[in-house]
Subunit: 338 residues, 2 copies
């Protein structure tokens, strides 16, 4: 590891994993934490799911959402992916001196709206203010509690032959934020017909639909590091391999165009309203049908299969018929995407 | 309210209350949040207590602790004060590019040590990195879950004649951080015999001792805004008054000296390991004895009484026999104290 923190450590890719594995997990090792799921499953009075995320996205407003909407969806989605039904959020604001109150009001209104839509309540909170140039307008942390409804999810449940489903097109959030940051799209243009918008949305209904329609091994929302990094986390250090079919992966044309322009790969761009699910192959069609008939899941697709061909790796068969390794994000592609 | 966020909004005093009351509570109104306790009590499978705090203390290391120790104690104490037995923490780091890894290791070690000492586990986490000058080394958010063990606490339970207890001397944390910030004490001098150290400590045992020995109406740890601001929150907008006796309030001589030097009032300086408790007068001696025989509570004192003499206010009888109003902290005394 480096001697000082570099932006790479926040990428969601290999450097982030290094920081977590070599510093954080050894320091706090316990069964709830060590599985490194999107949320921790807690023993208590019944089983709880607990998750947290800090949001430092820049700019704070982007096509299709803002940091307020994101801070609800991000934590709600982590709870859903861990098999929880989201119930309660905490909300902690770190405001930079000089941040316009009107912007804070807009963000708070988005949080309130998104929480109501998603069926969670903000139960507790905290507000801190730091001096100018010790922050960047606004950072938000949310933590969430849900009640466990799917107790049997985990990497260790994945089997050869399982199918990999993606609930919608890849990379929309990352591409939208990067275009907004580059000043190439209007941040207030989240209207129907606008070509490039974040997919930021709660996965409450999609995850419920999946769980109700088949045997789900594992669910995860591909945020920082994108689809490629998340799938690597499914199989790394294990005997299994995920083989993807590039042509089967839904990528919206405006996202593909934006990625071309910015030199990015949509498979490494964050989603904030998509889920990856590994399912028992016999249930593939049923789960796909359930996702496609749920709002937000219309483009759901089977994008790959679990094999043993190259243990611990993700392979992709390209449109031209070649096969290449799809490694974990290494270093920094998109800083401060969420 | 102002058009932009000023540092006052983070003071823990009137401006912070204004932001919470006029923007945040209306946006998220629900029974768990609206009581504005240190933690929210949640209905679910059994009753949970849920709390969050972001820590932006500057400098990150101070006599008697560091941001790591503080981020455990702060949230643990909020859970204790809300009547919970702390069980689980989330840990979310916002790191500034360039922050020395050795400092992060020191902080993580403190978190680990303090969590173990306090009987909580870090169950889930998140790490973000922001560019240089978009942060200040390290900010940490923790959220905590506890199980409710004292379901009947609240401002509405305070009665005329109740006594106000303080578990130890006032203002140590605030004074220690301000002296460290001014470069007037060594930040690594948390040794026995060092005159001025933060009181940063978990309140798990002290709160348990109090609850087990008498009828407690309400507990609160006087952090930002100090003893004066917290007591104002107990009685504001109600028919009752708190009358304090200045001579009864324990203030360590080094804290008094530091406050004189810096132009501060110890009653407005944050504590991070003290609790205020309003108790039924018939139980005063029993609760005081219990606190005094618990480590950290040796200096516990009865500092005041609940009356009706000036509704909604906190009064203090000075050493010279005069009586003055002790208002809520207005504006900024100590920025970034926690």
């Amino acid at each position: 590891m480096e001697d000082v923190i570099t932006l790479d450590y926040g990428s969601g890719g290999q450097k982030t994993a290094e920081l977590i594995d070599s510093l954080l997990v050894p320091a706090f090792s316990n069964p709830a934490l060590n599985v490194l799921g999107d949320g921790a499953v807690l023993e208590g009075n019944g089983q709880l799911v607990f998750s947290t995320d800090s949001f430092v996205v820049s700019p704070w407003k982007f096509p299709g959402g803002n940091i307020g909407r994101l801070c609800v969806c991000g934590t709600v989605n982590d709870l859903c992916m861990a098999g929880g039904l989201p119930k309660y959020l905490s909300l902690s604001l770190i405001l930079e001196e000089g941040f316009p109150l009107s912007c804070l009001q807009e963000i708070v209104a988005s949080i309130s709206e998104e929480a109501a839509r998603t069926g969670v309540i903000v139960a507790t909170g905290d507000t801190k203010v730091v001096e100018k140039e010790k922050g960047d307008g606004i950072y938000i942390n949310t933590a969430g509690i849900g009640f466990l409804r799917a107790p049997f999810l985990g990497k260790d449940r994945i089997r050869e032959g399982d199918r990999v489903l993606l609930s919608g097109s890849a990379g929309c959030h990352g591409a939208a934020v990067m275009m907004a940051r580059a000043g190439l799209v209007r941040t207030d243009s989240a209207k129907p017909g606008n070509a490039l918008v974040s997919d930021c949305a709660p996965l409450t209904k999609l995850s419920a639909a999946a769980l109700a329609s088949g045997t789900i091994r594992l669910m995860r929302d591909p945020t920082r590091g994108g689809v490629a990094t998340t799938l690597n986390e499914f199989v790394e250090n294990g005997p299994l391999c995920i083989e993807l079919t590039e042509a089967a992966i839904p990528v919206d044309p405006p996202v593909a165009a934006a990625c071309d322009l910015l030199g990015l790969d949509p498979l490494y761009c964050a989603c904030e309203g998509r889920m990856l699910a590994v399912v028992d192959s016999k249930d593939t069609d049923r789960v796909l049908d359930a996702l496609r008939s749920t709002p937000g899941g219309e483009q759901a697709a089977c994008i790959g299969v679990v094999t043993r061909s190259r243990p611990g790796c993700v392979l992709v068969t390209t449109r031209l018929g070649g096969r290449r390794l799809l490694p974990k994000l290494s270093g920094l592609q998109l800083p401060r995407i969420c």
